[in-house]
Symmetry: D2
Subunit: 283 residues, 4 copies
C-alpha cells in the first residue's frame, strides 16, 4: 500500500544520497527508513536501503523506475526498485526432516513472514499431508546423485511455472549443480547445521560431539558452487555440555536452525540483504 | 580529522533527507554513515544521525553551522553539529566499588573509548592511587544525604572548571538533587545493577536472589529526577542458578555492569543516542 | 525400562548420600546421574536427584518404596520415588494464542517431550482442529470471571477423569481460584510474557514498549495464589530496539515464550525441579 | 578450612557412590556438593566430583588419602584428593597483548580467582610494571622459534622453582614443544581467539572478517601437541555485523577472550574439569 523500496550498491562518491533523496522528493515520496553504509569511505563501495511512502505508488512505479535509470547510470549503481505490495513468491525444498518447513509455515500463518509460499518440493513424501492441508501444492521429486539432472530439470520447470523469486532449502540434503545455482543467483537460501566455517559438509553434529565443543550453531547463507562457502546471512548458537550426546545436539540444533533460517528468509524478503564479495550487508 | 556528525530530531515530512544531503553536498562533504528512523511515518517524529567526511572541516565548521540554521528552522529541528576531532570531556563519579571505573579506564587506555577523562570524583578515597597513576585528577568529595548540597556545589564547580560534557556514574551510590540533574540534561549516564524496571532502588542483587530469578541484569540509563526511571540506553543479562547466592550474583553482576556501562558510554560519545519521550533511539 | 528416580529434600547432616547409595546398592541399582546441592552446609537443607538403573525395577518398585520409608523417616525427608517408564500425564490449557500449544505438540511429536498429553482445555474453539487431528481430546470450556467457579469445577472433573499429573498453562489468560491452585500444588506451570518480576500482570509487552527496554523476556513458573509470584523455573530474553513497536515485541516474545515454557515443562517431567521456599532448585 | 575435594574417574559399576560416601562418613565428612556423570551406563566411564566438609581435615588428610587407596584400587580409579586450603599456584605466560593478564589480575584482586599467582613470564617487557606493582615476580624471557629450547628450559626451571600447578597462556603467541607440554599434562590452559574448530592457527580475526561471519568467538582449552586441538573447557561468542572491520573484531574479541579464559581457569582451580578422551566433563 504505497510503500516502496530502493536498494543500491555503487562506488562511493559525494552526492549519492542527495541525488536519490531529491529523486524521491520529486515524486512526493517520504522516506520511512534509510540505512546506509560505506566500505572504506575513500574509493570504497556505497550501500543503501531506503523504504519510502509514495502516494499512488502503483500508478507511478514504472515512471519512477524509468527515471531512476539516469541516476543509476550516473553513479554506476546496481539497484533494485520494488513495490512492497508485490509479495515475493517462494519455493521451499526439504528432505525428510520437517522442523524448518514447519517453522516457516508457522511464521507465515501467523503473519510474520510476508511471502506467497507457492509450492513445496521434497525428495520424501513425509511432509505432503501438512503442506497440502494448507492448500500449498506439494511436489514429490525423487533426488539423488544418479538422477540429479532430471530432478533439477523438473524443479526448474516448476520454479518457472510458479514464477518463484526465492528458493529456501529448509534442510534439503541434496547438492545442487552449478547450473541450478546459476539460474538463481543470490536467490537460494540454505540452512547449514553448524557454526560455519566449522564443520563444513556432512554430519556436523556428530563431528561437533566428537570435538567436544561447548556451543553448537547453525548458519544460513546464500548457495554458491562452493559447498557451505556462500555469503553468510545469519548465524545462531546454543550452549551444550558434556551430558549432551550427538542425538541431543541434533535436537538442540533443530531449534537453532529453525530460528536462524526464519530470520535470514525474513531479511531477504524485506530486501535487507546486499551481497558484496561473498559477504553480506544486512540493513 | 575532517569527520563531522549531524544528529537531528524533528517532525516528519517529505524532503528532510534531501535538504540535509544537498546541504552537505554543497560543502563537498561525503556521507560515511547515515541512519534514519521515523516514528509513525504520518505525523510522527523523524530522527537521523549522519557521519560525513568534509575536506577542511575545521575551517568550514562555523560557516556550516551558521548555514544549517536555516534548514533547522524550516523543519523545526532539534539538531547538533559536531566536529569529531573535538573530543568529548568526561567526569567519572564513583563510590567504593571500582569495577566500572576500571573497565572505563581500561577501554580508554586501549583506545576503545574516545574521550578525555578529565577528572574522577569519589566519596571514597579507595580509587585515588589507580586514577592518579594515569595522571587523571582525583577529587575526594565526601557525600551523604546531610551534606548533599555542599557536595554537589563543589562537584558542579569542578564540572564547570573542567568543561565537562558528560558525567558517568560508575556505581556512584548517592542520589542526585533535581538541581544537579537539571544542570546536565541527558548528559549523566548511570549504571543500575538490575534489569530495569525490575528491582528499582536499593539492594537489587539481594532482591533478585530472594525472588529466585534465573537471569540477572544491569541497565544503563540517563539520569532523571525519577530514581532509575530515566531513558534506558543499554541492558545486559547473565544466567544464574540455584547454586549462586546473593554474593555470587554480585560478582556475576559486576561483569554485566562493566560491559553495559561501557557500551552505553561509547554510544553516547559517538552521538548515537537520541532521547525522545523518556526512551532512546540508538543509531 | 528399569530406570528409576529418587528426588529428596531434607535437613542436611552427614550420612545421607551413604544411606541412599547403600540402599540402591542393596537392590543392585547402578546410579546413572546424581546431582546434589546443600543450602548452607551447616543446618541447611539438602537436595538430591538420583537417576538409576535397576534390573527388574517393575517387580521391585513397591518393595523399594516400602523399604525406603525407613530412610525417609530417619532423615526427615520429603522424597519421591518414580519409575521412569510410568509416563506423566499432562493437560494443556490455553486461550486464543496457540503458539505455546503448537510448540509443545511439536516437541511431543518429535519425541523431545516425554509425556502423555491427555487432553487440551480452552476457553476458545480456535485450536480444536489441530488438537483433534492428533487424536487428543479437546474440551471447550467457556471461562471468565463471572463463571469461574463452574468452569473450574468442570476442569477439575476432567483432570481427575484423565488422571492428570501436570497442568500446563500455555497462554491461558484466566486467573485461577485458590481452590484450583490448592488442588495441584507445584503441579501447574504457567508462562508469563515478561521477564519477572518486571511487568507483573496484564499487557507486559505494551508496558515494556512504553518503558523503552532493550531486552524483553518470558518467565515460566509454578502457579501460586499470588499472581505471577510463584517459584520461577526458567526465564529467557531477546534483544529489541527502538524500531520494534509493541506489536513487534509480541512477535519476538512469542518465540521466547515457546522455548522457555518447553524447557520448564521438560525439566518438570524429568523430575529436575525441586521447590523450596518459593524458589526452585533445577538439577 | 576443613573443606576437601575428591575427583574420580573410573569404569562404571554399581557401588561406587556407596563406597565413597561410606568412606567419607567414616571420617565424619559431610558432603556439600556432589556431581556425577556416567558415559553410557553399561560398560561406560564414571565421573564424580565431591566437595565435603570434614572436621580437622588438616590432621586427617594423609590418613584419608592412605585409606582411600584401597577403594581407588578396588574400582580402578584415577582419583585426586585435595584440601581446598592448599591454594593452587599458577604461572601466567603472555606476549604483548595484556587484556587477558589484566582480567586475571583483576579477578584475583577482587577475590574471585582463588590462586597464588606465583610469577608472570613474558617474551615482551610491556607488562612488567603492572605485574611488579602487585608484588608478583615478572620474568622477561625472549622467545621465538630459533631459541625455543633455551627459552623453555628457563621457563621449566622457573615453574619448578616456584612449584607451579597450572600454567595459563594468556595470549602467549609462541608454540610449545612436545617436551614442554609433556611436563605439564592437562595443566596448561590456553585461550584461542576463535570459536574452535573454526579458524585454527594464526590470524583468526582476519579470517573471520574475510569469511563474513556474523558471530565471533573464543575458546579456552588444555594444550596438547596438536595445535588448537586440545580438550575444550569453555567457549564464548559475540554478535558482529558488516560494519565491524577486522580491527573491530579484535576489540570485540578481547572481551570474549577475557571472560572465557577467566571462567576456564576458575573451573580448573576448583577441580571442576575432568579430561576424558580429548573432551572435558565440567562439574
Amino acid at each position: 500500500e504505497n510503500i516502496g523500496r530502493l536498494v543500491i550498491k555503487c562506488p562511493d562518491q559525494p552526492g549519492i544520497v542527495a541525488s536519490v533523496s531529491n529523486f524521491l522528493l520529486g515524486f512526493q515520496a517520504n522516506i520511512i527508513e534509510l540505512s546506509q553504509y560505506s566500505l572504506n569511505p575513500e574509493g570504497g563501495t556505497f550501500f543503501t536501503r531506503i523504504e519510502f511512502e509514495c502516494p499512488d505508488l502503483k500508478s507511478k512505479a514504472s515512471e519512477m523506475k524509468q527515471e531512476f535509470r539516469n541516476i543509476g547510470e550516473a553513479f554506476s549503481m546496481e539497484w533494485k526498485f520494488s513495490d512492497v505490495s508485490n509479495i515475493k513468491r517462494t519455493a521451499i525444498f526439504l528432505s525428510n526432516e520437517p522442523h524448518c518447513l514447519l517453522e516457516l509455515l508457522w511464521e507465515w500463518q501467523s503473519g510474520d513472514l510476508i511471502t506467497d509460499i507457492a509450492l513445496v518440493i521434497s525428495n520424501h513424501e513425509d511432509s505432503r499431508e501438512i503442506v497440502e492441508s494448507l492448500n500449498i501444492p506439494f511436489y514429490y521429486i525423487p533426488a539423488n546423485k544418479d538422477i540429479r539432472k532430471e530432478a533439477e530439470k523438473r524443479q526448474l520447470e516448476l520454479l518457472e511455472e510458479y514464477k518463484i523469486d526465492l528458493v529456501i532449502l529448509a534442510r534439503y540434503m541434496q547438492i545442487l549443480t552449478p547450473e541450478f545455482v546459476a539460474a538463481l543467483p543470490n536467490r537460494i537460501i540454505n540452512i547449514h547445521h553448524s557454526f560455519l566455517p566449522a564443520f563444513i559438509g556432512a554430519k556436523p553434529y556428530e563431528r561437533a560431539f566428537n570435538r567436544g565443543v561447548k556451543l553448537i550453531g547453525a548458519t544460513s547463507h546464500y548457495v554458491t558452487n562452493d559447498l557451505d562457502e556462500g555469503p553468510i546471512i545469519e548465524q545462531g548458537i546454543e550452549r551444550v555440555n558434556h551430558r549432551d550426546n550427538a542425538e541431543d545436539l541434533k535436537k538442540i540444533g533443530r531449534s537453532i536452525e529453525r530460528s536462524v533460517l526464519a530470520r535470514a528468509v525474513k531479511w531477504h524478503l524485506e530486501d535487507r540483504v546486499i551481497v558484496h564479495e561473498n559477504k553480506t550487508v544486512i540493513f
